[in-house]
């Protein structure tokens, strides 16, 4: 049975009409698919069917170990969103991007396609001052209406700066991580294991934390 109903599919087509460059979704799963692995793969396949600019490539986490290492995939289900020519901007989704996060997946495809982060000119300028790599993890639940703001901002920063990698992490699918990072409210943002905060912050405040994490 299809995951996306007709209404959602037509909304997706509206979003996809704006795609310029090609996008590849690398889906990591395993032979005996985990909770939501099948759904994540199915979702990526249904999206790809809606645009000739979107392609899916499915990999087994263990079978494609070397590739998983290249993209830093250590848990599944995972989606890597690659831009034109397989360019890796650092956009990752861990856990199924359903509920409110579905819009984050669409947004990630859009920004990876155009290669334009859509950040404000001030934010772009500020990110040039980043010195060290920053790994952002944004913990979410699928019922949290504010979470996509944080996820999408993190992904935009990843597109803007080669030093940034940004993961959406669906907290209830990875309880050990939620436990390790003390996720009791979402969105919770963890940057380089040293900076963390809760809530969907405006662009400027988010980037201040990012610069702090990369200093």
């Amino acid at each position: 049975m299809a995951l996306l109903d007709e209404n959602v599919r037509s909304e997706v087509e509206r979003v996809f009409a704006e795609l310029s460059g090609e996008v590849k979704l690398l889906v990591f799963t395993q032979e005996f698919e985990c909770d939501y692995c099948a759904e994540t793969r199915g979702l990526a396949e249904e999206l790809a069917a809606l645009s000739d600019k979107v392609e899916v490539e499915t990999h087994d986490l263990l079978g494609s170990k070397a590739l998983a290492e290249v993209y830093g995939i250590d848990k599944i289900p995972a989606i890597v969103v690659l831009g034109e020519g397989g360019k890796d901007y650092g956009i990752r989704f861990f856990g199924v991007p359903a509920g409110y996060e579905f819009s984050s997946l669409l947004e990630a495809i859009k920004v990876a396609s155009t290669g334009d982060s859509g950040l404000s000119p001030e934010a772009k300028e500020a990110l040039k001052g980043l010195r060290n790599p920053v790994h952002i993890q944004v913990f979410v639940t699928l019922t949290c209406p504010y979470c996509p703001m944080a996820v999408q901002l993190a992904h935009r920063c990843a597109v803007e700066s080669e030093l940034v990698r940004a993961d959406m992490v669906e907290a209830s699918e990875f309880p050990h991580l939620a436990n390790r990072y003390g996720v009791y409210a979402v969105p919770k943002v963890v940057m380089n294991e040293r900076v963390s905060f809760e809530g969907a912050l405006p662009e400027r405040a988010f980037i201040d934390y990012l610069l702090q994490a990369g200093s």
Binding site: R14, E39, G99, T143, P145, S172, Y184, A185, V186, P202
Partner: protein, 326 residues
């Protein structure tokens, strides 16, 4: 596993035009603001709807069973339907912008957003809704995001297999309990009143969960305990008696709401509760400024009432603008 839903975000491209003089600026994107948007668009008013989000408090409600036309609908689905309807019209919509001030600028009104954008309009509808009221007990502020939550629908999935307390036995508290029954191990309910104030249908659903839910009615919260995370709450019977410590990892505070009327302070008349005072045509103390929904002193806070008030406010704004043109 629960059935997955896929929600597409609002299209935010249209945005706001700085420097443009709108006929009408609607502040807030809940049921009142969105309904006002549809009515204003149908009157062909040059309209901007500016809001932090689309859906407002509706997004934080899991199930809605009393909005006419839908026997049962989730808050986010209803918000999506509102959004779809308002977006069928050519009005400007700026999502993710919070209006922080509202005042007069010559003959027009000037609104400023948190990102320092300026909006000019000939008439304004304030439909900014309400937000959660804090308990104001020791430990609460320190432990926000460490187990203290004001958004049960957001954070409930993080408390799988844990013990939690819901403070407040009204409709929002009862809804939080219903959500948490499916997730948490044990759910305590604490309220200063002697019993449930929620709709009987919700109370019945909670009763069906049996011993998983334990209520402490007639109790108040003394403090929330914990260092880096919530470890428990201390409650005591109202009017004296022995303190009880409940070992919980989550505290969901659902004791009512406070109006988002900060932008109107000093400009519009507010009542003691901070709500914007309106007459039966949604007019505020300043001609040309209207208000609708939960932010106003209209007593019942319901989606259907907010939507109706939003329609009224838009029609009143239209009448006002027509009068100005003479």
């Amino acid at each position: 596993m629960e059935e997955l839903k896929f929600l597409v975000a609002p299209e935010t491209g249209k945005g706001l035009r700085e420097g443009h003089l709108y006929d009408l600026a609607i502040v807030g994107g809940g049921p009142a603001g969105l309904t006002a948007g549809v009515y204003a668009a149908r009157k062909k008013l040059d309209t901007l709807l500016v809001s932090r989000d689309i859906g407002g408090q509706t997004l934080l409600t899991s199930d809605i069973e009393n909005y006419m036309g839908y026997h049962y609908i989730s808050g986010k689905e209803l918000a999506a339907k509102f959004e779809e309807q308002v977006k069928a019209y050519p009005i400007d919509i700026a999502v993710g912008e919070e209006v922080v001030s509202l005042g007069k600028g010559g003959e027009d009104f000037v609104l400023t957003t948190a990102t320092r954008k300026e909006i000019r309009a000939r008439a304004v509808i304030v439909a900014t809704g309400k937000r959660s009221r804090p308990l104001n007990v020791p430990g609460e502020r320190e432990l926000v995001g460490r187990g203290v939550s004001y958004c049960a629908v957001c954070d409930a999935p993080l408390f799988s297999g844990k013990d939690v307390a819901v403070i407040g036995a009204g409709n929002s508290g009862a809804t939080a309990v219903v959500d948490l029954i499916k997730i948490a191990d044990r759910v305590y309910v604490v309220d200063i009143m002697p019993g449930w104030r929620a709709d009987p249908v919700l109370v019945e659903r909670i009763a069906a969960a049996g011993a998983k839910v334990k209520a402490y009615f007639g109790h108040e919260v003394v403090r929330i305990e914990g260092r880096d995370r919530v470890e428990g709450i201390v409650i005591r019977p109202r009017g004296g008696g022995e303190e009880v410590r409940l070992p919980v990892q989550g505290v969901f505070i659902e004791i009512g709401l406070i109006p988002n009327s900060d932008l109107a302070k000093g400009f519009l008349a507010l009542n003691e509760a901070g709500e914007i005072v309106v007459d039966c045509r949604c007019r505020t103390s300043v001609p040309g400024v209207f208000a609708a929904g939960d932010v106003t002193d209209v007593p019942e806070k319901q989606v259907i009432i907010a939507a109706g008030e939003g329609a009224k406010a838009a029609l009143s704004a239209y009448a006002y603008l027509i009068g100005q043109r003479r």
